[in-house]
């Protein structure tokens, strides 16, 4: 992104200097951006871990050899491979190498008006120029030039010691926009690194009526940054899932799912809220998002009339049919359980119906491990029902609850990233609407008592567009000069 650097004898450069020079080149930046684009494309065409693990399984079955190679290279986790990080690091090195000289030149440029008088030769060397001979006095002609420039919103500078010269410019701070935009990326990177290393992205399931506590024991899955300390950095606040509700569209897709929660601090209620997909709960810098839900049937197991197990547990599957297990504390009893909210019975055949609680039942396959594994029972138990399973076991199904799955996130980098977003948009606005354009105009005595008006201009960015703009400007100057 830097301009070409004046040729220096290459032999005198040390290796670090050469590397730095390479990073300063615009070409390097463009090549790195191109590689980043290609690598990103690979990541969208191949299934990725964390996004589409089924796809990876399918791919591995279809192309075993290729998938081994891809696993080795990291093509199934493109965005977290070491070489992806190296690429990002190189891009940022290039970015920094480019913006340092640009910042320096911006500072020196912004302070100065042209010191040397503009000569005929100077103007003829500019990229855009025009000249007219008019029957006006030098000062009247220059006034008309000023008028036109002013109407085009140029800022005009006149020099006391140079009465036959006008200097005008527009968008002096245009380069600032580009600088802000590029510095923004550094802020964004800091935000990303800070957030990812000092935060976490965990997952917790909570059954209706139960509590969630924000500490390592409250979670089902933990994904935390290396600088997040599980011992000391948790907030330990607590919330209770009072109720969970899901409503459906007539088409069967969920319309809304809502967790009603109450937040407690030191045993006192401090906050009540409905957590929905687009309505997160934020507490102590920790954000709680509604993520998933399911059935949680409560089952009670008796052994020789003594209650040995009695709690609701998280079942997974679909809204029409969900699976789970129960196990006695002693380990000599276990059961595979299928829960259906709307059991259909037809000619002795059992099947799952709708997702409404019309005829809730559990279908239990129970095993005893007292003397080796032995299936002791298979059959359905309806809500509020109890069945004898044999060998002194009795199972009842007193109630069904729902569970709610929460994504619990701490990302202290977000404020920096949002700031970067804001700066980026401001920077772009300045970049595209404040391009620095400079115009010089001088008058010199011409032939036959006429006055020669010479006008020239340059733009620092988008020279093509300026060429067009300048020819329009010259046309207007000409028209204005010929007006009486």
């Amino acid at each position: 992104m830097a301009k070409e650097i004046a040729a220096e004898p290459v032999a005198e450069l040390t290796v670090p200097q050469r590397v730095w020079r390479w990073f300063r080149s615009m070409r390097t930046a463009l090549v790195l951006v191109l590689i980043l684009a290609v690598v990103s494309i690979i990541g969208t065409l191949l299934p990725q871990y964390g996004l589409n693990e089924e796809g990876i399984k399918g791919f591995s079955q279809s192309y075993p050899a290729l998938s081994t190679l891809f696993h080795y290279i990291g093509f199934f986790s493109v965005y977290s491979t070491w070489w992806f990080y190296v690429l990002i690091a190189m891009l940022f090195t290039s970015l920094i190498a480019c913006i340092i000289p640009r910042t320096e030149s911006f500072i020196s440029k912004v302070k100065s008006n042209p010191k040397t008088p503009a000569s005929e030769r100077f103007i003829s060397n500019l990229q855009n120029k025009a000249g007219f001979a008019v029957a006006l006095s030098e000062s009247t002609a220059l006034d008309k030039v000023r008028q036109t420039l002013k109407s085009k919103r140029y800022k005009i500078h006149t020099f006391d010691d140079r009465p036959n010269e006008v200097y005008a410019e527009k968008g002096r701070y245009g380069d600032l926009g580009s600088l802000i935009f590029h510095y923004m990326f550094i802020l964004m990177l800091i935000g990303i690194i800070f957030g990812k290393t000092r935060g976490f992205d965990n997952y917790a399931t909570v059954i209706e009526g139960q509590y969630f506590t924000e500490n390592p024991f409250g979670y089902d899955q933990i994904k935390k940054g290396p600088f997040f300390n599980d011992q000391t950095d948790h907030t330990n606040f607590k919330f209770k899932l009072d109720d969970f509700q899901v409503t459906y569209q007539p088409t069967g897709q969920p319309k809304d799912f809502v967790s009603k929660v109450t937040v407690f601090e030191d045993g006192k209620v401090v906050h009540k809220q409905n957590v929905e997909v687009n309505e997160k709960l934020v507490w102590d810098g920790v954000k709680i998002y509604q993520s998933s839900y399911g059935w949680a049937p409560r089952l009670t197991l008796f052994k020789d009339k003594k209650k040995v197990y009695d709690q609701p547990s998280v079942f997974s599957g679909s809204a029409q049919s969900a699976n789970g297990q129960i196990q006695s504390p002693s380990g000599d009893f276990a059961a595979e359980v299928v829960f259906v909210p709307d059991l259909q019975e037809q000619n002795g055949q059992l099947s799952a119906g709708s997702y409404f609680l019309n005829n809730p039942a559990v279908y239990v396959t129970a095993y005893s491990y007292a003397k080796g594994e032995k299936k002791i029972f298979e059959g359905a138990i309806k809500l509020k029902g109890t069945k004898d399973l044999g060998q002194g076991y009795k199972l009842s199904f007193p109630e069904v609850k729902e569970w709610s799955g929460f994504q619990v996130v701490k990302d202290p980098g977000v404020p920096a990233i949002y700031t970067a977003f804001g700066l980026g948009v401001i920077g772009l606005y300045i970049t595209f609407y404040f391009s620095r354009r400079r115009i010089w105009a001088i008058t010199v005595p011409g032939e036959q008592g006429k006055t020669k008006v010479l006008i020239g201009g340059i733009a620092e960015k988008n020279k093509g567009a300026f060429e067009y703009e300048f020819s329009n400007l010259a046309e207007q100057v000409k028209m204005n000069l010929s007006k009486k």
Partner: protein, 278 residues
């Protein structure tokens, strides 16, 4: 009685009238017949009114802004192309590219028809005001980048003709000057790119609100980023390295291909978090 049938009928009516406007604009371009241009402009406005009705009725029927599936998105895309074009025509008084702009809108309407489905209620993930902010920004920006591509394409055709024949001939000669096309293409991109950036930023903020992360390398996110990189490359090539003309036009075409890929191919071929839009 307002129902989805009304919306579909209005949609078809708008499509036919856009097609008539395309014919009118090209006739104008060929014969410079001002009264035909007035008729074509009138047709565009009438088409836009019917289109407004179609979108409005669907909005009323479904109860949400109709930008939640591929049909609604494509229809909205075409709507903004026509609207942007009419604004450009009014401000520049130049009607020569009308046939191309309305032609693009007509094609988008045809594409929308392929994706047609009855309106559905919004899934919970989409129930947010960010839907409007994010999608409308993306639609306007892709419409703008599409117009930029159109200018680049016309530039390319003109440039090729000049290189082959040594002069401008036929319909192409009646278009704006070759350098003006190049400059217009840049200017439109310089408007579309910041919008695309804002669209991505709005998407990131929404993702942070709804999914708990501002970026997740979801295929749609990644492709919007790839598109962004291409246009960033275009602007650097143009602003810093001074690329103009043909090479810039080719980059603009690649960029717009990426825009189209981001919107259509990702939904059709790659599964991801944005697939409810299919």
């Amino acid at each position: 009685m307002l129902n989805e049938q009304t919306s579909s009928t209005l949609f078809v009516g708008a499509t036919i009238i856009y097609f008539l406007a395309v014919l009118g604009y090209f006739f104008y371009l060929a014969y410079k017949n001002e009264s035909i241009a007035v008729i074509a402009t009138g047709a565009s406005i009438l088409g836009l009114l019917l289109h407004t009705g179609s979108i409005g009725v669907r909005w009323a029927v479904s109860g949400h802004t109709p930008i939640s599936d591929m049909y609604e998105y494509s229809s909205m895309f075409a709507y903004f192309v026509v609207l942007c074009y009419l604004v450009v025509q009014t401000s520049t008084k130049n009607k020569t590219i009308g046939g191309f702009a309305l032609g693009v809108a007509f094609l988008l309407m045809g594409l929308a028809k392929q994706f047609y489905k009855d309106p559905t209620p919004l899934v919970p993930a989409l129930q947010s005001y960010w839907l409007e902010i994010h999608v409308i920004t993306m639609v306007i920006s892709s419409g703008t980048l599409g117009v930029a591509f159109l200018f680049a394409l016309l530039y390319y055709l003109k440039d090729r003709q000049i290189k082959r024949l040594g002069e401008e001939r036929g319909l192409l000669a009646k278009l704006p000057a070759i350098n003006a096309l190049d400059n217009l293409s840049y200017r439109t991109t310089a408007f579309g790119f910041p919008l695309w950036t804002i669209g991505i930023v709005a998407g990131a903020i929404w993702a942070e609100q709804a999914w708990g992360r501002y970026w997740g390398w979801d295929p749609k996110e990644t492709w919007s980023f790839i598109t962004w990189l291409i246009y960033a490359g275009y602007l650097h090539a143009r602003i810093t390295a001074g690329w103009r003309g043909r090479s810039a036009a080719i980059l603009s075409a690649i960029g717009f291909a990426a825009v189209v890929f981001t919107f259509y191919a990702v939904n059709l071929w790659i599964s991801g978090l944005h697939s409810y839009a299919a």
